[in-house]
Symmetry: C2
Subunit: 348 residues, 2 copies
């Protein structure tokens, strides 16, 4: 609105310069893209026999990230994975990405390019193509908004609302590492990280900065019709189990002793005198998958784990709605599974 000029170097590149750079850096080549970046809208054909998926995420500086302890490329990677993970949770194949950002003048063009490179690096293994976006200046914080499109075979998508009583509840990978990594980053300066136990801390920090989207696991679960319901673990296990239970109108029992915890998380928790189970339950941004599957598919689920080389652990069972959501403690005592974890509106 106000037209007073700025002196940032983004002004020199300009929005259209940035778009042209991106077209060169990340050219569209899919046979389903008719027009990519550069027109009023991107134009696509739908892959035949497939349903389309679309999801969007916003990431706000000082709410979701802080460039004091991560690089622009780290940020780009996590933004990409947050979107890829939504497609993974539907059992789909990611196809296209739209990247919108608003940037304050203090952000140098090099950082913008690094940010895109991070997004691109996360997407490259899946041949996701950049088809659009919008760029603006911002008065203060960096705002990122990514929209991802994908496809899934007709009637194969994994939704949140299809869990059935008696289903096993599974998660991929290990839980809580990302949250521990974030805490480590928050207590160390980005430039002078002096770790007590470098192997532990480097592992956890990397799990926060470079999470892996579980695309192949989701695809195999969907295409082989193994899972009833799925969600990605972005808010934290307690919350995300809650979403599945609410949408499926069921209850759940989670066994604390069954939660997959890395040795690094245990070491971190021991040193910090914290309960690793609590970190695993409440810590967000693992970007692992949680899914439910009937007991008869257990062996087939383990085969997905072998084939994808991603660990899959049974952590509990779907119960009737009246059961509620309960956590079985190591003592055998049960307590209510609280979903007081990562809530976006508590989050500043």
């Amino acid at each position: 609105m106000n037209r007073s000029s700025t002196r940032d170097s983004l002004e020199t590149i300009g929005e259209f310069g940035l778009i042209r750079q991106l077209q060169r850096q990340w050219p569209a080549s899919s046979p389903w893209i008719i027009t990519g970046i550069g027109d009023d809208a991107a134009m696509l054909k739908a892959p035949p026999g497939q349903q389309l998926l679309i999801s969007t995420d916003v990431l706000i500086e000082d709410i979701h990230f802080d460039l004091n302890y991560q690089t622009p490329k780290d940020l780009g990677w996590r933004a990409g994975v947050a979107n890829l993970s939504d497609i993974a949770a539907m059992g789909g194949t990611p196809l296209y990405l739209l990247v919108s950002m608003a940037l304050p003048v203090r952000v140098p063009p090099q950082h913008v390019r690094e940010l895109y490179r991070g997004i691109q690096a996360a997407c490259r293994p899946f041949n996701v193509e950049l088809i659009g976006g919008d760029t603006s200046s911002s008065p203060s914080q960096i705002f990122l908004s990514l929209t991802i499109m994908g496809s899934v075979r007709v009637n194969r998508a994994l939704t949140r609302n299809n869990a059935e009583i008696g289903d096993h509840i599974y998660v991929t990978g290990t839980l809580g590492d990302s949250n521990a990594g974030l805490r480590i980053l928050q207590t160390h300066s980005a430039n002078r990280r002096q770790f007590h136990a470098p192997a532990v801390e480097t592992f956890l920090v990397r799990r926060h900065l470079r999470p892996a989207p579980r695309i192949h696991v989701g695809q195999l679960l969907a295409n082989r019709k193994l899972a009833h319901a799925a969600i990605d673990l972005s808010d934290g296990l307690s919350s995300d189990v809650g979403h599945v239970c609410e949408e499926s109108r069921v209850g759940a029992e989670i066994r604390a002793t069954a939660l997959p915890l890395s040795s690094q998380l245990r070491a971190f928790a021991r040193r910090d005198k914290r309960d690793p189970v609590e970190i695993a339950l409440q810590g967000g941004e693992d970007y692992e998958l949680l899914f439910t599957a009937p007991a008869k598919h257990h062996q087939n689920v383990l085969r997905v784990s072998e084939q994808t080389k991603v660990s899959i652990t049974c952590i509990g069972e779907i119960k009737p709605k009246t059961f509620g959501r309960q956590l079985v403690l190591p003592s055998g005592r049960k307590q209510k599974l609280s979903s007081e974890s990562f809530r976006h509106f508590n989050n500043r």
Copy 2:
């Protein structure tokens, strides 16, 4: 990231409460939507025989809007129209919308609902359905990111890169009103607007706050194969003619005397001792369509105007690239058509 709690009332509603409210307020009913809001991704069928369109726009407080001189509902309307207009410029039919927003604690829930109502009001005439989005807190500004999907018949889309030498250049509606309306808003308090010439000022302000997306014009131009190229006027005529020329590798001649100017804009310019032609050329956010069509289709283009009751004016002609972009002044003298108008990175 930081978990210190806030006391805003959005916290009380929560993100999931907001989503549920939206589902009630704006239920999805299209046969092409399999899953709307509430899962990791929305799931869609592609309408048969159609190509898909997708476009996204960001709107940042203090850059693109200021709630000191517009209501949340006004803002929602304009955000909706900015997206609808991108689909109009492709000759398409808008179908689905994803709405992401980041909101500082000072924004009351009532304003959030009003904002959605504005978006919905702009979309209602076209039966656009809300299928997703994301909501977050924001440390300072309001951040809006809308993504729209639409469809267009195979090989009928209007692109920017297809203008041909000899084409007439047309625009819908009148130009510059929105920019004049914005200036009026900026110089009057929102609560105590005392206009010199209320009829003039009310008209121009309304043209800024409630622009009309030219969906039907775009659809008729595309389906009847009348236009070679099209763009919506969001950056300002000079810039937007430039985009078409660059993408189509052609030049253009625009006749200043041909530009459609409302009597209200002329009155405003006279009082402010400004050149209405300059406002029409440089003022952005008209959300009118600019398109090029071969001379032989002139009568058919006028018929589109009659049928849609939207004025359409021929303002110039596509020329060879070597001609450049020229403005013919009322005196007959020519000058370079400058595209120094609304540039996003100059824009704070």
